[in-house]
């Protein structure tokens, strides 16, 4: 079975596993682009990407809360959880791949696709049944070779929302998880939205809505109910060179001009893997140390999602340390590749547990 329509609680858990994988899959590309920017330059772009990346972490947390609420067991340390880039998103969007690359118009183009508005151009494209594309991230059941593919992350969450409602209407006892596993707002907050502990239908649907609104905007409006601009339109500002402001309509921002310096960026090797760096080199050692650190970080976050929510606070500290490691990597020339710099590879050992 792959991602077919949600008809059982097990289906829902599968979707939520996929949701965690999906939310996480966006983070390495965002962080790579973010930290490729020369410090002190591109302030507007830096903040736009940073805010989105932070909110993806919020979404990951919300997905974990939902999965815990319905009695699932988050597992971010299993083999294949971290994709090998370039990768298709695990919700089955098959018309583009996501790369680890420097901040560039191409990268922003990809980010716009990741965050594209929920509505597919036509009803037929909304949910597609088609062969699993090459190198797709093995979602929940990697052996499957066909299933549902969604036009957008928004469509994917719409199915989750539909499934929750459907199961609830069927009288399925959904919220059987241990409430002490929920991550609460004390442990995670940022400017963009609060963590919602999930304990019942209303809070589960609220969590889905928050993710969808922040990402792609469900309603077609560029701002959500809190007056927050959705990710898609945040990124679009970088290509249009202008901020949106209140009252604007899609595609026509009228706020202050926004400056982007595409050249103030380290020339990272795109989709670097560990073998791109010669064994024995300092760069190789640093890239391996980063990967090991990232694996530990995921493991720590996973512990936070599986009964020790307090660990989220030190996990943030680990993430800041990883940030500094990425900074050192991207400023070093890639050995044997003139004009190209090293990059974090996010290669995980088969299992990080």
């Amino acid at each position: 079975m792959t991602l077919s329509r949600i008809t059982t609680k097990a289906d829902l858990q599968d979707y939520l596993h996929a949701a965690m994988q999906l939310e996480h899959a966006t983070i390495p590309p965002y962080l790579t682009a973010l930290y490729s920017i020369h410090p002190g330059t591109n302030s507007d772009a830096f903040h736009v990407i940073r805010v989105v990346a932070v909110e993806e972490m919020l979404h990951l947390t919300l997905a974990a809360n939902m999965l815990n609420a319905v009695g699932g067991e988050p597992d971010m340390t299993r083999a294949g959880f971290v994709p090998r880039y370039p990768a298709y998103l695990p919700d089955g969007e098959a018309d583009f791949e996501v790369s680890l690359e420097r901040f560039s118009p191409t990268a922003i183009g990809t980010f716009l696709k990741i965050e594209r508005p929920a509505q597919a151009p036509s009803e037929e494209m909304r949910v597609l049944r088609r062969p699993k594309p090459r190198a797709a991230i093995p979602a929940v059941h990697p052996d499957g070779d066909d299933g549902l593919h969604f036009w957008s992350i928004g469509e994917f969450y719409a199915e989750i929302a539909r499934g929750i409602q459907h199961l609830h209407d069927q009288g399925v006892d959904l919220f059987t998880g241990d409430p002490s596993r929920q991550v609460t707002p004390e442990l995670y907050y940022s400017g963009g939205g609060e963590v919602i502990p999930v304990k019942d239908l209303a809070s589960a649907l609220a969590a889905v809505e928050l993710i969808s609104e922040q990402g792609e905007g469900l309603t077609g409006s560029i701002y959500d109910e809190e007056g927050e601009l959705s990710h898609y339109f945040r990124f679009q500002q970088l290509t249009l060179g202008r901020y949106y402001q209140a009252g604007d309509v899609a595609n026509s921002p009228t706020g202050p001009a926004l400056e982007v310096d595409w050249d103030a960026v380290y020339p990272l090797l795109t989709n670097a893997t560990i073998t791109d760096f010669p064994a024995g080199s300092e760069v190789r050692a640093a890239a391996e140390a980063f990967n090991a650190g990232y694996a530990e970080f995921l493991s720590l976050v996973n512990q936070a999602f599986t009964g020790q929510p307090d660990l989220l606070i030190p996990a943030v500290g680990e993430m800041f340390a990883l940030r500094d490691q990425v900074g050192r990597l991207v400023r070093n020339p890639a050995p044997g590749r003139p004009g190209v710099n090293a990059a974090p590879t996010f290669d995980m050992p088969e299992t990080t547990r």
Partner: protein
């Protein structure tokens, strides 16, 4: 000699006198800016001399750190012309700041009109190596995260 060909010996010398690896030095993103700063104040010729002597010392010491350090002290750090510049290169890496050379150095070895103390750039401040040396962040940059201060410091081995 172009700045690019100077970079390697400059990094090699810098690594020895700072006890940070070339990777860590490059990791600051400041190597080119520092090289430019040094050349801008003391000129190509002096830096070339300093780096040639350093290379000679490496050959002579042949991996013996004690010998190397003795020769560095004898031929560079105690040299009236090279010593102040060598110390300033260390300070550049540790603090991101170029310090104006002493007045008597300028009198003897050539005056540079605009040799003043300055922070090389905002980024250079944040990349000072004194901070990783002590396992801390530069004040006002690279915040280590809530509550990390309650844990023992992670002072990196080298």
């Amino acid at each position: 000699m172009s700045a690019q060909t100077r970079l390697e010996p400059f990094l090699a010398f810098s690594s020895r006198v700072t006890a940070f690896t070339v990777f860590e030095l490059q990791g600051t993103g400041q190597a080119a800016a520092y090289l430019e700063t040094v050349v801008g104040v003391v000129g190509e010729a002096l830096l070339g001399d300093l780096l040639s002597i350093d290379e000679a010392i490496q050959r002579e010491a042949d991996g013996d750190a004690a010998v190397r350090d003795r020769l560095l002290r004898a031929r560079i750090f105690s040299d009236e012309r090279l010593g102040p510049v060598a110390r300033h290169i260390i300070k550049l890496w540790y603090l991101g700041t170029w310090y104006a050379l002493p007045k008597d150095w300028h009198e003897v070895f050539g005056s540079v009109e605009d040799d003043v103390t300055f922070v090389v750039s905002a980024a250079a401040y944040a990349e000072g190596l004194v901070w990783p040396a002590i396992g801390a962040n530069p004040p006002g940059a690279k915040g280590p995260g809530y509550g990390t201060w309650a844990m023992p410091p992670k002072i990196p081995a080298f």
